[in-house]
Symmetry: C2
Subunit: 117 residues, 2 copies
DNA sequence: CAAACTGTTCAACTATTATCGAACCATGAG
DNA sequence: CTCATGGTTCGATAATAGTTGAACAGTTTG
């Protein structure tokens, strides 16, 4: 039914701390994940980087950092989990931040190997 | 005269990396410094936190982190140094980011002991 | 030139964070 | 029930970042 256990803790919107959010986003892998989530919720496995082959535990750790900072929500759904961006909460608390950070890398920024396809 | 030596290296505007900037701003002390600089350039000593008593070397280290990320500029001026926010470069490269980050803490955020005066 | 002043750099230490295999734990399928 | 699946948690180790005193380097002043 709906009473799924295995719920993970999430900070209340009012408790979000800017420096924690900035820190969570200051890692290239986590920023990448966040940007991907901007297009819609994903299950954990789908958060893997493009040609990525990072261990499950490492990915889980990054998601934990994002979750504890209040950047993403992680809810159990069947035997999977859906990760989603807490866009409303972030926009409410830190207006403009997400927009600035989600902006695709500008020309010339050595952010990631550009994937053309 | 004007030919001061002792110039410190600063990254070119085009080389600014978003994750580095976010990281530099993810420390409460550095964010505080950045916010103060938003109101105008300061000499290094004036970057001290309010009731602050942190050692010179620690402060210098934080300023170095900010400088290397491209957040601030640090230029020699007589026997002092002026630290200033690289607002134009940041706005140019990451539009909206600075505005979002400089926004005074919203109601309820446990960012700093509220100083009322 | 010598002393005082402002701030950086160095070096050592501590603390936090990242990484990753292995164990574990619900859930859904057979 | 038993097994495979998807993902978290644990524990250990490596890597990075923060803190700080002391040494050092220009600048100005006397």
């Amino acid at each position: 039914m709906s009473g799924s256990s295995r719920e993970l803790p999430h900070p209340d919107p009012a408790d979000l701390v800017l420096t924690d959010v900035l820190f969570a986003l200051s890692d290239p892998a986590r920023l990448e994940i966040t940007r991907r989530l901007a297009e819609g919720p994903l299950e954990v496995a789908a958060c893997q980087p493009v040609g990525g082959d990072i261990p499950k535990s490492t990915l889980s750790h990054h998601l934990k950092t994002l979750r504890e900072a209040g950047v993403v929500r992680n809810v159990p759904h069947g035997r999977r989990r859906y990760v989603s961006l807490r866009r409303d909460d972030l926009d409410d608390r830190f207006p403009g931040l997400l927009a600035a950070v989600l902006t695709p890398a500008l020309a010339g920024e050595p952010q990631d190997p550009l994937r053309l396809e």
